[in-house]
């Protein structure tokens, strides 16, 4: 039925070769749009932004080479150093608190809890909300006139003050509060997935060996979550460095420029103040920060993997 008669063979052969050829070409062709997009919009733009940071570009991009002048100027700006300091404070607190809350809640939820699905849904929903919405909501809750401060005062603590939102030195912490609220449930979900992946027999074996539950967690379970810590930190680091929407919506960068982060700095200089050279220099430094924060992590994780595989 499917047998080819010898006479037809030459023609079949040619059409078969052609279809085979199609099957080697089509897959590559499929990747062309994505490849072109990555080449232009990813690598092309990265190169372009780096180049712009070495030019005298102001309101419009130009190609007059300025060497490191923009960077030198940037490093003299108080607004830049405030942004960097804020990023360090915000980043460290955000990551540490998210990890702590996330791990803690994940461990509690893992104790065969009733209504687990409902609780997980509640903990995680903030991540589905836009950061602008998050900022608007917390701005209302944290405002000193009608927000939490007045709620606590109405309970009788008339001298209670919680006005961080308008205190230049404290406003950055309100951003931590809102950001942690938004992302900690997600970290919980990551840790929970990690905990569920641990072989129950290990825990049983440790119990038979006489280890107490806290000890089992400290010595066996938490160390085995290392890969989860790894991916959670990677995500939180890149989220922290990219933070923009939340700050704009919650504090607008204020009071003054007290809550600027590099992303705000970049936006303000690159778009509002017509200092493209400065703005791109800030962007380049942000990218370097991501690379510097993530490279050691990735390298140490790779080393750990290699160590584990040669063991």
């Amino acid at each position: 039925m499917a047998a080819n008669s010898p006479a037809a063979s030459a023609g079949t052969y040619r059409s078969s070769r052609w279809r085979e050829h199609l099957d080697t070409v089509l897959p590559k062709l499929t990747l062309v749009p994505t490849g072109a997009a990555a080449l232009i919009f990813l690598y092309g733009f990265i190169a372009w932004t780096i180049w712009l940071s070495f030019t005298k570009s102001t309101l419009l991009p130009n190609n007059r080479f300025a060497g490191l002048a923009q960077y030198r100027f940037l490093f003299k700006l108080d607004t830049w150093w405030v942004s960097v300091t804020n990023l360090v404070i915000f980043g460290v607190l955000y990551i540490v608190i998210c990890l702590a809350i996330g791990l803690f809640l994940a461990i509690l939820i893992d104790q065969k809890i009733r209504a687990e699905n409902l609780l997980r849904t509640i903990y995680l929903y903030p991540l589905a909300l836009s950061l602008v919405v998050t900022g608007v909501a917390w701005k209302w809750i944290l405002n000193p006139d009608l927000g939490l401060q007045s709620v606590v005062r109405s309970l009788g603590f008339t001298h209670f003050t919680f006005d961080w939102l308008v205190q230049p030195h404290m406003a950055i912490y309100t951003i931590v509060i809102a950001a942690v609220w938004q992302a900690s449930g997600f970290v919980m979900a990551l840790f929970l997935a990690g905990l569920r992946g641990i072989d129950g027999a290990i825990i049983k074996a440790a119990q038979i060996d006489g280890a107490s539950l806290p000890r089992i967690y400290l010595r066996i379970i938490i160390p085995s979550l290392r890969p989860v810590f790894f991916s959670a930190v990677i995500l939180l680091v890149s989220m922290a460095i990219k933070s923009f929407d939340l700050i704009i919506a919650l504090t607008g960068g204020g009071p003054g420029y007290a809550t600027w982060l590099p992303a705000i700095f970049m936006y303000n200089y690159g778009f509002n103040r017509g200092q493209i050279g400065l703005g791109t220099a800030a962007a380049v430094l942000m990218m370097l920060a991501v690379a510097l924060a993530l490279l050691p992590l990735i390298l140490s994780e790779l080393k750990e993997k290699r160590r584990a595989s040669t063991r």
């Binding site: 279809r19 199609l22 099957d23 089509l26 897959p27 590559k28 499929t30 990747l31 994505t34 997009a37 990555a38 919009f41 690598y43 092309g44 733009f45 990265i46 932004t49 712009l52 991009p61 809640l105 104790q111 849904t121 995680l124 929903y125 991540l127 589905a128 909300l129 836009s130 950061l131 602008v132 998050t134 608007v136 209302w140 809750i141 009608l146 927000g147 939490l148 007045s150 709620v151 609220w181 997600f186 979900a189 997935a193 790894f230 991916s231 995500l235 890149s238 990219k242 704009i248 919506a249 992303a263 970049m266 778009f271 703005g279 800030a282 962007a283 942000m286 990218m287 991501v290 993530l294």
Partner: protein, 277 residues
């Protein structure tokens, strides 16, 4: 019992802003200014919602969020569709039709998930202007499609890696080619990952603020930017927190509903996105 106490306390912390948003949005301005933040609305009013939807001011333009809501819908849907289709095709090629350099291709694409978007803003703004897409829905479709590709490709690739290669081999022996194998075998099996990709992309693009505020202005802005402008405008006069909160809930509603209906896929997308290392 202590465990439950802690868990419920934590739940209260996560629910507080939602509760405050909802109750405030249903209060009269008088109650907002005179009653406690945590009090229930009495009487319940839907006026703030109506105002936020159709008459609140963004600067001098007082027509509410509705126009911007449809703006968002009109660029989110095409961008989600485009990035998901290409993500699925890319994932299919990168796992089932590997060639020399395909892994390198994937690695180079993954870089896109880490680079801060600030690196792209200025060249993109200039390019959009040159190709006539600045301050337009089309421009936002392009930007969101392009920068979503790395994520959708990652999701689909990781999914297709676990799909047995023998399925594709069997289909080739059966006489199907590149396109028919995708259409008849791979795509019908991809529903779970397409859901993940669609929900992830929808949430990301709907919630985006940065691209919206940088690449659009005036009547072409997405709802997130409009909400920000609305709140900003209201804070210059009398602060109308009830309208602000109604606007916030309206902005949050689409992604919130998707999360409630398809949270399973949402979580899977997050965890899939997190194992990229």
């Amino acid at each position: 019992m202590l465990i439950y106490a802690i868990l419920i306390f934590a739940a209260a912390y996560y629910l507080l802003p939602l509760y405050v948003m909802l109750t405030t949005s249903l209060k009269t301005l008088h109650q907002v200014n005179n009653a406690s933040l945590l009090s229930l609305p009495d009487p319940i009013t839907f006026k703030p919602w109506a105002e936020a939807w159709s008459s609140a001011c963004m600067g001098v333009n007082c027509s509410g969020l509705q126009h911007y809501f449809w703006n968002s819908v009109s660029f989110v849907l095409p961008a989600v569709f485009i990035s998901t289709v290409f993500g699925a095709l890319n994932g299919y090629v990168l796992t089932k039709w590997q060639f020399r350099g395909s892994n390198l291709f994937f690695g180079l694409l993954l870089v896109g998930t880490f680079v801060p978007y600030q690196m792209f803003l200025l060249p993109m703004a200039w390019t959009l202007g040159k190709i006539g897409l600045s301050n337009s829905i089309g421009g936002l479709v392009l930007v969101h499609s392009v920068y979503g590709l790395a994520f959708t490709t990652l999701f689909c690739r990781n999914f297709y890696v676990s799909m047995p290669d023998e399925l594709v081999k069997a289909a080739r022996v059966d006489g199907a080619g590149f396109i028919r194998i995708f259409w008849r075998i791979v795509l019908p099996l991809s529903l779970p990952i397409l859901m993940v990709s669609i929900i992830w992309q929808f949430t990301q693009i709907w919630n985006d603020f940065l691209f919206g505020i940088v690449f659009t202005s005036g009547t072409h802005q997405p709802i997130t930017v409009a909400l920000y402008n609305m709140v900003d405008t209201s804070s210059t006069g009398i602060k109308r927190y009830n309208v602000d909160m109604a606007g916030a809930v309206i902005t949050a509603l689409p992604t919130f509903i998707i999360y409630i209906l398809a949270g399973r896929y949402f979580v899977r997308g997050l965890t899939a996105g997190s194992v990229k290392g």
